[in-house]
């Protein structure tokens, strides 16, 4: 692949790819690294027929590979532990409310099945059904069903967890 071609890809897709990866991984720096590696791999390709789906598919695979590394896992777990600690000990304020909402959103998204989550995240980054199907190895006809299931579960689980938290908060105030 020529430099100018890769540069065009980079300008077009770097931001959405990093955003997708950040939402997938919960770590902006990690996402940047994976995105960079993805573009390096694109560089070795002669030509990409479906560039956007190719980039997202490679990035997704890289995340899977990376997830096997113990150091990364420890780092991620450490982050989650910090977040949990913050969530528990922080006093109620606007910031903590937002942090709580973030943690809740993270839990809900992470609770989705892998395929549903990836399809949803890719759709949010503007990939069409054909591209999502190519990236995830699914038929185009099944993408609507996959997204419908993912969105429903996401919204319903979020609502349920939110209600449960509010119930706990109310109970603790009452006691």
């Amino acid at each position: 692949m020529r430099d100018d071609e890769l540069e065009r890809l980079f300008h077009l897709y770097h931001n959405p790819l990093v955003r997708y990866l950040t939402r997938r991984l919960g770590d902006r720096d990690w996402a940047e690294e994976v995105a960079q590696e993805t573009f390096l791999r694109a560089l070795r390709q002669e030509r990409l027929t479906s560039e956007r789906s190719w980039l997202f598919a490679v990035a997704t695979n890289l995340v899977r590979d990376e997830a096997r590394k113990d150091e990364r896992r420890r780092r991620h777990l450490q982050l989650l532990a910090e977040e949990e600690r913050d969530r528990v000990v922080e006093p109620v304020s606007v910031d903590s409310e937002r942090a709580r909402e973030q943690a809740l959103a993270r839990r809900v998204v992470d609770a989705l099945a892998e395929r549903d989550r990836l399809a949803l995240l890719m759709k949010e980054e503007g990939l069409n059904y054909e591209e999502i199907g190519e990236a995830l190895g699914l038929s185009v006809g099944s993408i609507g069903t996959t997204l419908a299931r993912a969105r429903r579960r996401l919204a319903e689980t979020y609502e349920a967890l939110q209600a449960a938290e509010q119930g706990r908060a109310g109970g603790s105030h009452a006691s």
Partner: protein, 425 residues
């Protein structure tokens, strides 16, 4: 026969053919149950966008105007250079982590002004009057330029908070078909409204694309103090070198007093001071390229002495630019301007391997550095827009310790072969 939920979502996402879409639309118009399902699906779509957006640790109030959001993100090399030195402190915080006080933009700006003031005072005390006069405008310019995150926040203040944004209005019953392509939809904040049972179908709403595109655009906001725009001040070849030396001394002293842990916690770390140093050097390179030959010869006379103390001169950086592209097996001297780098890399290195050509500035070219204590794979190089080849290192997920690589002529290497590492340890 009613519509399947997947078909409804595909229709709302604009994934059906025109014929299929017309069929679905006609059915929805005639079937109350399916119309209710469509409304519910719109609520789920909006809710999904809202929840996914909540994962992003970017305050809604920093979004730039919608007029700028439509433009594709543009990578501005000078800005990315700046961000590298500020990272990770100036980057969006990792999601869910407590935001320390030093990430407050106002405090960061105040700290930057304070540090620059101290640095300027130090240089003025140690330099001649001419040297001080040369540095002061640069310091003033640096201090006047707000940090990146402050730019974003100041824009946000002018636009008000997200809560003030109007929620999307429900469309009339006749406008239940997707009004816009799915990728152009926005308004994920409709979730609060969508959580309520919709009384009538509204235009489908998805996507944080606009939101994040805006953030990307904000990232690319132009700054005044960038390398490409560095003012080519009148460069007297000897005096600026003295100023640079003093600035570097001050930086080293600060770096020496700061532990690794403290450097991570500082909003404006000693490393970030190097940004300004390089900005100034970049401007001087331009000036020297345009300088008459007499000035170049004068600068050449001081070159050897400056090399001995490790400072890189504009002429040397220009030589590095001429040595571009970097070739495997070549030998390079490093500018000794980063204490962290000096602890890990010998002053002269040989590049063992170069993988891939350059792309813009963000994609670095990986090199294997002989003699480095850090594991292979962490060292990279790139050529800045001004043509200077820089060796950089990834640390804590960010590019740090940018250092100019000064190409050594082949004659020098032949004359002193023992000074260039030959084998891998």
């Amino acid at each position: 026969m009613h519509l399947e939920e997947g078909t409804i979502h595909a229709w709302l996402d604009g994934a059906l053919s025109p014929e299929e879409g017309a069929t679905v639309e006609a059915h929805v118009a005639a079937c109350k149950l399916c119309a209710a399902m469509v409304a519910e699906a719109r609520g789920f779509i909006a809710a999904s966008s809202r929840i996914l957006s909540a994962r992003d640790d970017v305050p809604a109030s920093v979004l730039p105007d919608a007029s700028t959001a439509a433009e594709p993100p543009v990578l501005k090399p000078e800005l990315t250079l700046e961000r590298r030195f500020q990272a990770p402190a100036a980057r969006p915080a990792l999601m869910g982590r407590r935001r320390p006080l030093y990430r407050n933009p106002q405090l960061v700006a105040a700290a930057a002004v304070l540090v620059m003031a101290v640095g300027t005072w130090t240089v003025v005390q140690r330099s001649s009057g001419r040297a001080a006069a040369d540095l002061a405008p640069a310091a003033a310019l640096d201090a006047a330029a707000p940090p990146q995150n402050e730019l974003m926040d100041s824009g946000a203040l002018a636009r008000g908070t997200a809560g003030a944004l109007p929620l999307p209005q429900d469309a009339s019953a006749s406008s239940i078909a997707p009004a816009r392509p799915a990728d152009e939809r926005s308004s994920s904040r409709a979730f609060r409204r969508a959580a309520e049972p919709p009384t009538s179908p509204a235009a489908p709403t998805t996507g944080s694309g606009r939101r994040t595109a805006r953030v990307a655009e904000a990232d690319a906001s132009p700054r005044r103090d960038v390398p490409g725009e560095a003012t080519p001040r009148a460069v007297a070849p000897a005096t600026p070198a003295l100023v640079r030396q003093d600035t570097a001394d001050a930086t080293r002293r600060m770096a020496a007093k700061t532990t690794a842990a403290e450097r991570k916690e500082l909003a404006v770390s000693p490393d970030s001071l190097l940004t300004r140093e390089f900005r100034r050097l970049a401007g001087e390179i331009d000036a020297q390229r345009q300088a008459p030959d007499s000035a170049r010869r004068l600068d050449q006379r001081g070159r050897n002495a400056q090399r001995s103390d490790g400072m890189v001169t504009g002429t040397m950086q220009a030589a590095a630019a001429r040595a571009n592209p970097v070739t495997p097996g070549a030998c390079y001297d490093l500018a000794r301007s980063s204490a962290a780098l000096e602890n890990e890399v010998p002053p002269r290195i040989r590049l063992l391997e170069v993988r891939g050509p350059a792309i813009g500035e963000r994609l670095l070219r990986q090199v294997m550095v002989l003699g480095a204590e850090s594991p292979v794979g962490e060292w990279y190089w790139w050529t800045r827009p001004d043509g200077v080849t820089m060796l950089v290192r990834l640390a804590d997920g960010a590019v740090r310790y940018e250092t100019a690589m000064v190409g050594i002529g082949s004659e020098d290497v032949k004359a002193h072969p023992q000074r260039c590492p030959e084998t891998r340890e």
